[in-house]
């Protein structure tokens, strides 16, 4: 009786399932992953919609933008160039803050909207003064690139200072001196970055360490944009000290991880040993 009831229920259920609601896999993906409850999805930017028509990657700005550090950090077109990415008709409206392609002299202000500390030091530097005088460079993109092929904005790195790049405008001697002044702190920053990455992979929440490193790093690099070797050299100790404190904290975390591993290994051996002892206890008598 029960068996029959269950079987009939299953058949009825399957029949109902088969006739109701025809849908497809795409439907599933769309419904399951893009409904409002799946979080507010990033809307398709109207900038990307229009600028994606270029057939090759060289001309296609959105494809190139995806190669940059800005894309990695969710910095989209309108964050730099203004406009309204949600409204195609107003996307390039100056009323909505559209800037478009900035003139070379305006580039520092455009980048400086976010990189505030760096802007101040840059404008006071030889580079900034040269730009102000010539109205044509050097600006941020001269060294850091933009979203043009072969010169994408990458995460800032000491190797941006190189003979090939610097000697396009002036001799490399002074730049080399600056690179040497930066080296100690930059090397330590790289080591700490590696350590933080390793901690993260080990399951440690490194938010505080990341924030400390980021602020120290940002301040140091802002200082560097003054292109004043003496100023950088005078402050190297201060930054090194801050990084040593961070490094010490990370070292303690690594020690803690090692302790955890040893402790759980001890517990594993303890319980495994108890298991082995149990195996040695008398077995049931055989007939």
């Amino acid at each position: 009786m029960i068996r029959k009831l269950i079987l009939y229920s299953c058949i009825l259920f399957a029949a109902f399932a088969a006739v109701v609601h025809a849908g497809y896999r795409e439907d599933f993906e769309r419904e399951f992953l893009t409904k409002p409850w799946a979080g507010e999805q990033v809307e398709e930017s109207s900038c990307i919609g229009c600028h994606s028509f270029k057939p090759t990657a060289d001309e296609n700005v959105p494809v190139q933008w995806k190669m940059t550090v800005h894309y990695e950090n969710n910095v989209s077109c309108h964050d730099c160039h203004g406009g309204d990415p949600k409204d195609a008709s107003m996307a390039m409206s100056h009323q909505r803050g559209f800037i478009g392609v900035p003139k070379p002299a305006d580039i520092p202000d455009l980048c400086g909207k976010c990189h505030i500390g760096i802007l101040k030091h840059f404008l006071e530097s030889g580079h900034g003064k040269a730009l102000k005088a010539s109205r044509n460079g050097p600006s941020c993109v001269t060294c850091h690139g933009s979203h043009k092929k072969g010169n994408y904005i990458q995460k800032a790195h000491i190797d941006i200072i190189n003979e090939q790049l610097c000697s396009q405008c002036h001799s490399y001697d002074r730049a080399r001196e600056m690179k040497q002044a930066l080296f100690v702190v930059e090397k330590k920053i790289q080591e700490i970055e590696g350590g933080i990455d390793s901690l993260r992979k080990s399951g440690v929440f490194v938010d505080e360490e990341e924030r400390t490193l980021f602020s120290t790093h940002a301040e140091f690099r802002a200082l560097f944009h003054s292109v004043d070797v003496t100023l950088v050299k005078n402050n190297t100790d201060l930054f090194s000290q801050r990084l040593i404190v961070l490094e010490q904290k990370m070292r303690e975390t690594f020690s803690e991880l090692q302790f955890r591993r040893n402790f759980s290994a001890f517990l594993m051996l303890l319980f495994a040993g108890m298991g082995i002892i149990l195996l040695l206890l008398p077995k049931p008598p055989k007939e």
């Binding site: 068996r3 399957a14 979080g39 594993m268 319980f271 206890l281």
Partner: protein, 363 residues
């Protein structure tokens, strides 16, 4: 001293009789194997989850603004908090494996057959409760991993026409996974599921004790072949005492379980806690790869493959229903699955399909 306590208890509760009836005088079949201990191993697993869960609950804050931070504090600031969390996380996964294996071996040995249909039924419901524990507990750390995995799993009921959205809304409390979902899942995890689970566990144990342990079908004797026209406890008079012999076996397997748990904590501490588990939940940032926990991967992948999603979820419900009521459907007298090639073939095919879908779902 101990004799004094013993005499005191003997006088009041009849300790000797209690021990004799339930431990030294309770006989188990001679041919029971290590697979018979998986129920006990699961029980130990549940006990570990309860104890570690209580410690975690002391420090955990079930609020979206604090949940992630409180879990990180447990990992870094609470003395040995990391150990309790690791035990809870690794333990939950091992527990699912132990419970699955328990059910599979019971199925394979045909021990669900008359008169143990209700024991199977209780066990199957407990397995579903275990998965519900896992699902509700998974969201609590409020990390990217847990948030998006919960988003995916709680979306599954929307496959139902008419009531689908309502069901999803009941689960989440709001349109999307939010603070309301966290509150619901926390309540489910710590106060709704535990008493229900304990109730089923009590019934399950009562039935195991009342009916007696089944003989393995591969042994010399098979008492189940007799006609079941009235209740009779299986006493295994030719067997050996539960205590100490079978208890030793159970404890041995429980220690293996605990050792494996600590081995994972020692050598692969991030196995169940990848980088996404240490990233706070961000509803605005959809990760590149969203997938549920490994034990939900096979049904998830199945849903993705079947074009009609209602059909997909219906098939799953039918399969689960068949699994739960299987003892009532399988009335074949033969217990030994080795003598039933069709059932054996279907069983192996289903296992292979499950594993295949699981690995497929990982990609």
């Amino acid at each position: 001293m101990s004799k004094g306590i013993r005499d005191w208890l003997e006088m009041r509760i009849g300790l000797d009789d209690l021990v004799k009836t339930n431990l030294t005088g309770s006989m188990v079949p001679k041919n029971v194997n290590l697979f018979y201990t998986l129920g006990f191993v699961s029980l130990v697993g549940y006990a570990i989850q309860v104890l570690s869960g209580i410690v975690l609950m002391i420090y955990y804050i079930p609020h979206p603004d604090h949940a992630f931070r409180s879990v990180q504090d447990i990992m870094s600031k609470v003395p040995y908090g990391w150990l309790f969390r690791q035990i809870h996380v690794v333990g939950s996964n091992l527990l699912v494996i132990a419970a699955f294996m328990h059910m599979i071996t019971i199925f394979f040995m045909g021990n669900y057959k008359k008169p143990r249909e209700m024991t199977w039924l209780g066990g199957a419901v407990m397995l579903i409760f275990t998965l519900a524990f896992c699902l509700s507990g998974y969201l609590l750390p409020w990390s990217q991993l847990s948030y998006w995995a919960t988003t995916v799993v709680t979306s599954m009921p929307t496959a139902f026409p008419i009531v689908g959205d309502f069901l999803a809304h009941v689960l989440r409390g709001t349109e999307h996974v939010s603070g309301a979902t966290l509150s619901r899942f926390f309540a489910l995890h710590v106060s709704i599921l535990p008493p229900l689970f304990l109730l089923f566990m009590a019934v399950h144990f009562l039935l195991v004790r009342r009916i007696g342990i089944s003989s393995t079908p591969f042994g010399k004797s098979d008492e189940e072949s007799r006609a079941w026209d009235r209740y009779q406890k299986k006493r295994h008079t030719d067997g050996y005492p539960y205590y100490p012999y079978f208890f030793q076996k159970q404890m041995f397997m429980a220690l293996v379980y605990i050792s494996v748990m600590f081995a994972i904590i020692t050598f692969a501490p991030t196995l169940f806690l990848p980088v996404e588990a240490n990233t706070p939940a961000d509803p605005l940032k959809t990760p590149a790869l969203i997938r549920p926990e490994w034990y939900f991967l096979a049904p998830y992948q199945m849903l993705k493959l079947i074009p009609n999603k209602f059909l997909g979820i219906s098939i799953q419900i039918i399969l689960v229903s068949i699994f739960i009521v299987w003892p009532f459907l399988d009335t074949h007298k033969e217990k030994n699955i080795l003598k039933r090639p069709v059932l054996r073939g279907v069983f192996i095919a289903l296992m292979c399909l499950w594993v295949l879908l699981m690995f497929w779902g990982m990609k």
